[in-house]
């Protein structure tokens, strides 16, 4: 074997790539920002690598090596709210959480409903620590009144469209959105919460909202919205992706739709398989305020069941930075959303893998392979020729999430002080090490 020029060689790690059905110790060769090969360690690789320049070799002994993780639901806040997050800071948080690609939502200022704003985001992302794919708006200014110039958006490179944060309340408009997106073979991502049922609510409607005297967002508001969009998708075709499913009823609706062969995919956010509404009354922590809201134990169990049986295809953080002063207000006034990029992997490990619900291979499917498939992105696999986006995880390493660890500009995480197991050791994007764990 002739010694070719590799930029990086990762050896001694347990490589998990569900797309290749691969789960064993292996060597990964990286050249030109791409995967140049993935082979089992053998006499010939050993001979080659034992004499290879040390600075090109990454020893992954004891680690899990996976395709770079992909988060298809984040808010990067730029343009418009750079005090809360920028594309650069959000991508640092992504890299710190093991993510090499993110899809950013269009609810910026201005809204990403035009080519110029898409181009602006792409330009800003060029030097960032993660790949940024843009999700454009379904409707102009996210107002739910008329379709955005979706053809133009696609030309500029959006991978999907969504009015995330808002439900497209008018079913006729949503129908047209689905029909129109179908021409471009991109998914339409629905934030499924009926505005009439959920509009003024600040938390899940349950005995907890009754006890605290807070306006509720009932589970049925999500279920109805999901069912409506599934039926529209069944009627006109196209590809529907349900963002952040939070209710048992929502999971069941998607399960039945998949059985019926309707082209729907779904994601769950870590807080919806981790947090419950009875945590809010303890200290009225506005970092627990999120839409859709954290629900009940029964819903948490249903989300996990949906992840286990494949009803829910992927896990996405819904990373939603808000400045400290925006969250340090009355609960009713606080904006909704929490940070997610740096705690997603820890929550998957601690809440799902350690409790026996998912294997590491399942987790990699939900965090890399399936997200890539849903959004039709490169990556999600370590196959030869794929981008050299790779995440190395120290699987049993214990860590505590502290304020100083936060790479976002905002600090609105309800998980500060939480203990996790499973820590990102290295994040590699395009063959470049963008994050090195301590």
């Amino acid at each position: 074997m002739k010694a070719p020029e590799y930029d990086l060689v990762i050896r001694n790690g347990r490589v998990i790539d569900p797309a290749l059905g691969f789960e064993q110790e292996a060597v990964i060769f990286v050249a030109g920002g791409r995967i140049a090969g993935i082979v089992k360690e053998s006499k010939s690789t050993k001979k080659l690598l034992d004499n290879y320049p040390e600075d090109k070799i990454l020893d992954a002994a004891g680690m899990i090596v996976t395709p770079g993780l992909i988060d298809i639901h984040v808010h990067l806040r730029e343009p418009g709210r750079e005090y809360a997050e920028t594309i650069a800071s959000g991508c640092r948080a992504a890299a710190g959480g093991g993510f090499t690609s993110v899809c950013c939502m269009p609810n910026t200022f201005p809204v990403i409903d035009n080519q110029e704003t898409v181009q602006f985001v792409h330009a800003r992302a060029e030097k960032a620590d993660a790949r940024v794919y843009v999700i454009g708006a379904i409707t102009k200014s996210l107002k739910g009144e008329e379709l955005a110039e979706i053809g133009d958006l696609v030309k500029a490179g959006v991978v999907a469209i969504s009015d995330d944060g808002n439900f497209v309340q008018n079913p006729e408009l949503m129908r047209r959105g689905l029909e129109y997106a179908k021409m471009f073979h991109i998914p339409i991502v629905t934030h499924a919460e009926d505005k009439y049922l959920c509009g003024e609510g600040v938390m899940n409607e349950s005995f907890e909202s009754t006890r605290l005297g807070m306006k509720g967002r009932p589970a049925v508001g999500e279920v109805i919205a999901i069912l409506r969009d599934i039926k529209l998708c069944e009627f006109v075709g196209g590809r529907l992706h349900v963002a952040h499913v939070s209710t048992a009823g929502g999971v069941e609706a998607i399960r039945q739709a998949k059985k019926a062969g309707i082209h729907v995919t779904a994601e769950a956010a870590p807080h919806h398989f981790t947090l419950t509404d009875d945590m809010i009354g303890v200290a009225f922590d506005t970092n627990l305020k999120v839409n859709p809201p954290v629900r009940t134990q029964k819903d948490v169990e249903a989300i996990i069941e949906g992840l286990v049986d494949g009803t829910i295809d992927c896990i996405a953080s819904d990373h939603a930075p808000h400045a400290e002063e925006e969250k340090d207000v009355e609960f009713d006034k606080a904006p909704s959303g929490m940070l997610g990029l740096q705690t997603t992997l820890g929550l998957v490990k601690t809440q799902l893998i350690d409790k026996g619900y998912l294997s590491w291979a399942d987790a990699v499917s939900k965090l890399a392979y399936n997200p890539a498939r849903i959004m039709n992105l490169p990556g999600g696999t370590l196959n030869e020729g794929a981008p050299a986006d790779i995440t190395l995880i120290d699987p049993e390493r214990k860590w505590t999430f502290r304020d100083k660890d936060i790479k976002s500009i905002s600090r609105n995480s309800p998980y500060l002080g939480w203990k996790f197991s499973g820590k990102v050791a290295f994040t590699i994007a395009g063959g470049r090490i963008v994050y090195r764990g301590e």
Binding site: E205, S206, F207, S209, T210, R211, L212, G213, M214, G216, P218, A283, F284, E325, D328, V329, E330, F331, D332, K333
Partner: protein, 311 residues
């Protein structure tokens, strides 16, 4: 015996002995406010801020009088004339006022959880004067005080809370307090004004006022806000009055020696008829008088309590 917390945020979780202590203390102050000279030096030198982010007549005047009769210096804050209009945050507003050296804060706010939030922002003792539709502990305490004065006890009494249960902080505080003190509590109103899973409070739930009143001792009316009708919570005031209005005929279902209560402000002719509001069994004005004594008791018991003294 003293209160466990240095704040009064709600009656949920407040122990029977603590409620008894407040009510017993209020008896003393109740005598004082009947005297020709109603002022005692108890809180001399302390400054109390009345922070009212929502309009209030009764509660605000009641607290102000309670403070003055205890010789505290009291200042009142009205959102209409303050920097809140200029966009100052709640934290900045209260921390600026506290920087001028105050000791206690009475707060009324439309958002649930604000009194707790103030305990995290300030060193002062915080008293909840009503937060959103969460709790209004001093109202429930004065309601219990009024009932106890009449019957000599709370144990074993049957109390019915009728009206807009969903949007009522008075209901929630009454439920917690009355249940802790051994009363049996039921709520009654149109199902659209009963909050989700209200039975989990451990109360009986009725939509028929006749069934609710049957065999009860006390009926306390939770006022109907007329804008709820515009929001479609019930079809019309007329229908509300027909189905849930407290009329003389309906009073016959109650036990002998019954009591009619209303925390105010009343919508006469909607939730209660004139003759019931002004009838012999009505203690509505007595509630208002007692409110001053109960608030004096709360201010007195919390005053000077510092972090290290609380358990």
């Amino acid at each position: 015996m003293s209160l466990r917390s240095r704040h009064l945020i709600g009656l949920e979780g407040v122990a029977r002995e603590e409620i008894k202590l407040i009510l017993d203390t209020a008896e003393t102050f109740r005598e004082i406010i009947e005297r020709p000279i109603k002022k005692v030096p108890t809180l001399r030198g302390l400054t109390v801020l009345n922070l009212f982010y929502e309009p209030s007549t009764r509660t605000r005047i009641s607290f102000e009088l309670a403070e003055k009769r205890l010789s505290a210096d009291s200042i009142s804050f009205a959102t209409a004339t303050s920097s809140v209009k200029k966009g100052e945050s709640l934290r900045d507003t209260v921390q600026n006022i506290e920087a001028m050296k105050i000791d206690m804060v009475v707060v009324r706010h439309s958002s649930a959880g604000v009194p707790y939030y103030l305990t995290q922002c300030l060193d002062s003792n915080i008293i909840n004067g009503g937060d959103g539709t969460h709790e209004h502990p001093t109202q429930a305490l004065l309601d219990m005080f009024t009932i106890r004065r009449k019957y000599g006890k709370l144990d074993g009494l049957r109390v019915i809370l009728v009206g807009d249960v969903k949007h009522s902080r008075v209901t929630r505080s009454n439920i917690w307090g009355l249940k802790t003190m051994g009363a049996s509590v039921a709520v009654c109103g149109p199902s659209t004004l009963l909050p989700y899973e209200v039975e989990k409070f451990g109360v009986d739930v009725y939509t028929s006022i006749e069934e609710a009143l049957d065999g009860a001792d006390v009926v306390n009316i939770m006022r109907i806000q007329l804008e709820r009708q515009q929001a479609g919570m019930f079809p019309s005031q007329r229908e509300y009055t027909n189905l849930w209005g407290l009329t003389r005929e309906r009073l016959r279902l109650l036990n002998k020696n019954y009591t009619v209560m209303h925390p105010g402000p009343m919508n006469r002719g909607v939730e209660i008829t004139n003759e019931v509001a002004d009838g012999d069994a009505s203690v509505i004005l007595e509630q208002v008088t007692n409110g001053v004594a109960v608030r004096m008791a709360v201010l007195y018991l919390l005053s000077g309590k510092k972090e290290e003294e609380t358990q």
